[in-house]
């Protein structure tokens, strides 16, 4: 019970994002001519917000399958980097291991990166509950959108900013808590340089790859200081 309450509290920052983006996807796919079971199945199996929204126009235009594959790879390739910090942690979780791996979305990743676990909380159980409840919220929200089938009765534009706000708070926490500020600064530099050079839609992957390379290059400087990470086991 205590662990469940703790999990719910950790989920709160992403709750509104999931509900409103989920509803938006439900409405979109419904308008494209897919009924409730399609929306639920897509959210259950894919469980990747931005890619699901990109998928709808591809479905409408009848794009070839390889196009779906290529788009998904480029939009979701960032997930390749997310897993690096959780290999040993998830492997210990038995039958839950594959589930934890496949449900590590942007939001769940951010929660795991910022969570501090009190001693009374079972960390593994809390993490599993966080992953499971987020998944359920996502599926139900898209279901609600598909049932609504039209725009919301009130103007919710701008609510999607809550995701950006949450990611920003995690950045601030990293800045304060990591022993080194080099990783954050490398992130800033990579965003500025690659978004200027390559444009809005193509900078993500080069920026991630370059930041990893730069981090390896700066390892003697960044590595020494990260011995002092406050909550070392949440992100290593």
């Amino acid at each position: 019970m205590k662990t469940l309450l703790y999990a719910l509290k950790q989920i709160l920052p992403v709750f509104f994002t999931y509900v409103f983006v989920g509803i938006a996807f439900g409405i979109l796919i419904h308008e494209a001519g897919y009924s409730l079971p399609w929306a639920l199945a897509a959210s259950f199996f894919i469980y990747a917000g931005s890619m699901q929204i990109v998928m709808v126009p591809l479905l409408i235009t009848g794009a070839p399958l390889y196009m779906f594959a290529v788009m998904t790879f480029f939009i979701n390739a960032r997930h390749i980097f997310y897993g690096l910090g959780f290999i040993e942690k998830f492997q210990k979780m038995g039958w839950k291991y594959p589930y934890m791996v496949l449900t590590l979305t942007d939001e769940v990743y951010s929660i795991f990166c910022s969570a501090e676990y009190p001693e009374s909380i079972e960390e593994e159980r809390a993490n599993f509950l966080i992953a499971l409840i987020c998944h359920i919220i996502w599926v139900l929200s898209t279901g609600a959108g598909a049932l609504l089938g039209q725009t919301l009765p009130f103007d919710s534009s701008g609510i999607e900013f809550s995701a950006v706000a949450f990611f920003t708070t995690v950045c601030v926490n990293h800045w304060r808590q990591m022993g080194s500020r080099i990783p954050s600064l490398i992130g800033v530099a990579c965003v500025l340089v690659f978004s200027t050079l390559l444009g809005a839609d193509r900078f993500l992957l080069p920026a991630l790859i370059t930041s990893a390379i730069l981090l390896l290059f700066f390892r003697p400087m960044a590595g020494l200081q990260t011995g002092g990470i406050k909550n070392a086991d949440t992100c290593d």
Binding site: F16, A32, G33, Y34, F45, M51, Q52, T61, G62, L65, F68, T72, F73, A77, R78, H79, I80, F81, Y82, G83, L84, G85, F86, F90, V101, L102, Y109, C113, S157, G158, I159, F161, S162, V164, A165, F166, T168, T169, C171, V172, H174, W175, M178, P183, S184, G187, V191, S195, F203, A207, L208, S211, L215, L216, A222, G223, T226, A232, C235, D236
Partner: protein, 112 residues
Amino acid sequence: MPIPVIDSVLAICVVALMTWFTRSAPYLLFGGEKELPGTVRYLGTVLPASIMVILVGYCLRDIDLTAFPFGLAEILSVAVVIVLQWFGKNTILSILLGTACYMILLRTVFPA
């Protein structure tokens, strides 16, 4: 439905499988080893700080700094979140006020 059922099923399967592939790639690469290479362990520790900054940049990728409103609604709201989180350390409050700030700016100062 714009395209046949079987094509729709295949398309959703392809998207799901490719998403699963990107999420499981690091485990497929390094999960089998008894001891994680030091380099991977190091990246696992420091990379999140870079990734989160890049993710914020990615979320804000569509703002146009060369024409009105110069992404001011986004930039100001992110600044509000940073200040609140820096001094208040209350994540929920930072998100609520930051998002409220953005929604208000969007409706008053910088209407789309």
